[in-house]
């Protein structure tokens, strides 16, 4: 099937097999490797992207389901994303880095919705993404400090 998707501000038109997962479309067809695969059950959140502004797990969607939609990945750059990345760096909110794209997307979506979240809201907001390295505290602090 032929689909047309806007990713990080650029329109792409591609033929895809109906069974192709969105995460494979992004990684293998478009070469956007920052979207990562950490599981096969929708639990780890490493593949989290924004679909029309909402965080989704791209391993839980078929590419054909996003025809005509707009997707943002961690490669997207704006003031909020820059603040987040700087805060992740300064607060040591990443170690192996594998969950980091997913964490950035979940935090970005949260901060767009609620610029001054409480600690509890941050923890809830990033709980769709698993991190095995950091114990989460530095991520929570980075997200808090990245607000306006």
């Amino acid at each position: 099937m032929r689909i047309k998707v806007k990713v990080n501000g650029v329109w792409y038109e591609r033929d895809v097999e109906p069974r192709r997962l969105l995460v494979h479309f992004l990684r293998d067809d478009l070469g956007i490797k920052s979207v990562r695969v950490g599981c096969d059950t929708g639990h780890c959140g490493a593949c989290t992207v924004l679909l029309d502004g909402r965080p989704v797990k791209s391993c839980n969607l078929l590419a054909v389901q996003v025809d005509g939609s707009e997707i943002i990945t961690a490669d997207h750059s704006d003031d909020l994303m820059e603040r987040l990345k700087r805060a992740f760096h300064e607060r040591h909110a990443l170690q192996c880095g594998y969950c980091t794209s997913g964490m950035l997307m979940a935090s970005y979506a949260l901060l767009r919705e609620r610029p001054r979240p409480t600690e509890e809201e941050i923890r809830e907001g990033i709980s769709g993404v698993l991190c095995r390295c950091t114990g989460y505290q530095n991520i929570v602090e980075a997200v808090r400090s990245a607000g306006p």
Binding site: R36, C39, H92, Q95, C96, G128, C131, R132, G135, Q137
Partner: protein, 731 residues
């Protein structure tokens, strides 16, 4: 301009944040094929026949390797599979989707055999044998003994006999296992998600009978490991062999569910013991055996049992000991190192014994430890380990004060009035880190900057930043002028890699000594150029009123004005060193559901010199959650046939942000240095060692408050069901 001791943000972050990370699945090579494995649904079965004819003729399929393909495709050795998920065939296809279609079309005729799942039952006569050629499932047994345990038991006031166990856990690095191999006719190039590139190189060269010089292993970004990427798995060798056989690059990336079948599991140790103690709370003797549920192949089972056995006395004075380390084969994936690898188990065991003494004598748990601790190191542990340095008794006092243990105990008591059930547990730990050799090469560049290549293979810990700090201080230059490279067998000839909390200590010491050696070499050249004895400071050699920068000397060498080595290599052999400290955990329990949540982890650690507190604290945070999670969240369940009932993240619980505590680490203000040039002792595993033992005590404390009576917890994990039953009774 000193860098050591400062909380510098990592030099490793930029590419990870800005879309330039390269994990093994991100690597695409021209003509690359995708490999996958057909895996046994049975935990124990004879493999009668593997029929790949249908799969071989499917679109996109390039090759299928079966047991008939010969080494290294000798799947199902001895004609049988020994655990659920053991590979029986390998398919190579043009793309991932064709690959997974074809994996379904390889037909295997199995004859299921009775499986043995429990290591204790596996030791009983008549148990099914995992490896018939051994005639037993006990793969290895060794005794560690000192003093006269029988006499000490006989003269003890009180005796206890019980079994303690740590259930298996799945290391669950967020990046599953994977490898890419390519052979260009001269070089076998392997990109591997590993902790040990040089060990992979040796293993592949040996297995495929190619010269070591013809194998290059690159460690790309690795998405966590925690010990699970220490083993060189058969898959890594087979992917390399397929790349050579097919003359095409081949990639294998495990799915998460496949990772649960492939990876080594952690913990899985049992202590069966008898102990004696005095009515004053002094431990007199321990007699027992540490049994490792080694899985189908004893890759690490014995090592883990032996580490746990020899570390069992901890920093306590008990000398009458008789501990067997036993590894037992079972029809499960092989056991392997997992963050702490034997020390969290040893600490959990001995701290459970200390807590039992406290409960049996009515003494305060801190007081029991005070009465048993060796005052200070150096100390020769009766089972043969030499503890290098530390003030264990004073460390206990400082740790209890720094963590505010008694304040937390009072808070838990006070919370009763608000209808909340809190529990607090503390542990004292000592652990062994660092072993083996490590290699570093420091090179002087034309502009006076330095490149440092190391054989350690960090993957998130931040060792490159730590080593840059150490080398910058050694050379008295800004850290911006030091670049650290690693993870490529072409840049250093050998190395052990990253595990055992050894990287900054062994790798950093090698780098510091190499830098020192290079400076001596450059000094000789400087003295020749300047015509007299030269001193060095901050990148400049001075002799009388003449001076030359490092860059000028390098230039002079290239111009042939003077001879000097511009690179120095250090092979450093690192002896073990022993961090120690106190961990305190606070949990909150919902008595209606039995669900417990960790609220707080506080620690006091003497890890020697703290090179970078920001990164050391990061290790404490993550390591603590892994230890806490082992007790509260993570449970591996097999059915009686050895079928894994928790085969992926849908069933196996890795904690989320809402399930994690706050962490408040403290490091010793006056640390006891190791005698390594870095003075460091290692921090990667200390929090995991300390936190599991403290968590199980905190749970016991909370359950006691909820139930109104004392309970004894003997195994991890402790499930909500178990907690509920302990509070409310019932079978």
């Amino acid at each position: 301009m000193r860098h050591v001791g400062r909380p510098l943000a990592r030099l490793e972050d930029y590419h990870l944040l800005y879309g330039q990370a390269r994990y093994v699945d991100d690597i695409e090579l021209p003509g690359m094929l995708h490999a996958g494995f057909v895996r046994s649904p049975y935990a124990h079965a004879r493999v009668r026949r593997v029929d790949a004819s249908e799969a071989s003729s499917m679109p996109g399929v390039v090759a299928v390797f079966t047991p008939q393909s010969g080494k290294p495709f000798d799947f199902a050795p001895g004609g049988k599979v020994r655990y659920q998920g053991e590979a029986v065939a390998m398919v190579v296809a043009a793309d991932r989707y064709a690959l997974y279609d074809a994996l379904e079309r390889v037909y295997v005729d199995y004859e299921p055999l009775p499986a043995v799942v429990d290591p204790i039952k596996a030791m009983e006569p008549g148990a099914p044998l995992v490896d018939e050629s051994l005639g037993t499932n006990v793969s290895h047994r060794e005794k560690y003994a000192s003093g006269d345990v029988e006499r000490a038991l006989a003269s003890s006031d009180r005796l206890v006999e019980e079994e303690l166990s740590t259930g298996r856990v799945v290391p669950s690095a967020m990046e599953p296992h994977g490898v890419v191999a390519a052979h260009d006719g001269r070089t076998l190039l392997i990109y591997d998600s590993t902790q040990k590139p040089h060990v992979v190189r040796r293993e592949v060269a040996r297995s495929l009978d190619v010269p070591l010089a013809a194998v290059r292993v690159v460690q790309p970004d690795v998405g966590g490991a925690f010990g699970s990427k220490i083993q060189v798995y058969p898959e890594e060798v087979r992917v390399a062999a397929a790349a050579m056989a097919l003359r095409r690059p081949v990639k294998w990336i495990a799915t998460r569910s496949e990772d649960f079948k492939v990876t080594t599991y952690g913990r899985g140790l049992v202590l069966r013991y008898k102990a004696g103690f005095t009515r004053d709370g002094v431990l007199k003797a321990v007699k027992g055996e540490v049994i490792a549920d080694a899985g189908a192949y004893d890759w690490f089972g014995f090592d883990l049992a032996s580490t746990a056995a020899t570390m069992l006395p901890g920093a306590y004075k008990v000398v009458d000991l008789d501990v067997d380390a036993v590894s037992v084969l079972t029809n499960k994936p092989p056991l392997g190192p997992y963050r702490g690898a034997g020390r969290p188990e040893a600490t959990l065991f001995i701290e459970r014994i200390m807590d039992l003494i406290a409960d049996e004598t009515g003494l305060d748990p801190v007081e029991v430890r005070r009465r048993n601790l060796v005052p200070a190191g150096p100390y020769d542990n009766p089972l043969g380990l030499h503890y290098d340095s530390g003030e264990y008794l004073a460390g206990l006092e400082r740790g209890v004060a720094a963590t505010g243990y008694y304040d937390l105990v009072r808070r838990a008591e006070a919370a009763r009035a608000e209808g909340r059930v809190l529990g607090v547990g503390m542990s004292f730990y000592i652990e062994i880190t660092t072993y083996g050799h490590e290699v570093a090469i420091v090179r002087a560049e034309r502009d006076g900057s330095f490149t440092v290549a190391v054989g350690i293979a960090p993957h998130g810990q931040g060792d490159a930043t730590g080593i840059a700090q150490l080398v910058a201080d050694e050379l008295q230059i800004p850290i911006e002028r030091v670049r650290v490279v690693w993870g490529d067998t072409d840049v250093v000839p050998d190395g052990v890699g990253t595990d055992g909390s050894r990287s900054l200590t062994a790798g950093g010491s090698a780098a510091v000594l190499a830098a020192r050696r290079l400076l001596d070499e450059l000094r000789k050249a400087a003295e020749e150029l300047l015509g007299g004895p030269a001193t060095y400071s901050e990148g400049v050699f001075r002799s009388g009123d003449k001076s030359a920068t490092v860059g000028e000397i390098v230039e002079a060498v290239y111009r042939g004005k003077v001879k000097a080595q511009l690179e120095a290599m250090e092979v450093y052999r690192a002896r073990p060193t022993f961090p120690y400290g106190v961990g305190v955990v606070e949990v909150e329990l919902d008595p209606e559901t039995g669900i417990a949540r960790p609220l707080l982890y506080r620690s006091y650690d003497d890890i020697g010199v703290v090179v970078n507190p920001l990164l050391a604290e990061g290790q404490i945070h993550g390591g603590a959650l892994q230890g806490i999670s082992q007790v509260l969240y993570e449970q591996v369940v097999y059915d009686q046939d050895g079928s894994l009932a928790t085969p992926n993240f849908a069933f196996y619980h890795v904690p989320k942000a809402v399930e994690a505590p706050r962490y408040e680490p403290h490091f010793a203000e006056t640390p006891h240095r190791s005698d390594h040039p870095t003075g460091t002792k290692g921090v990667g595993e200390a929090p995991t060692v300390a936190s599991a033992a403290a968590t199980i005590r905190a749970l016991e404390d909370a359950i006691r408050r909820a139930a109104g009576r004392r309970v004894r917890l003997r195994s991890t994990p402790v499930t909500p069901e178990e907690i509920y039953r302990l509070i409310h009774g019932g079978a």
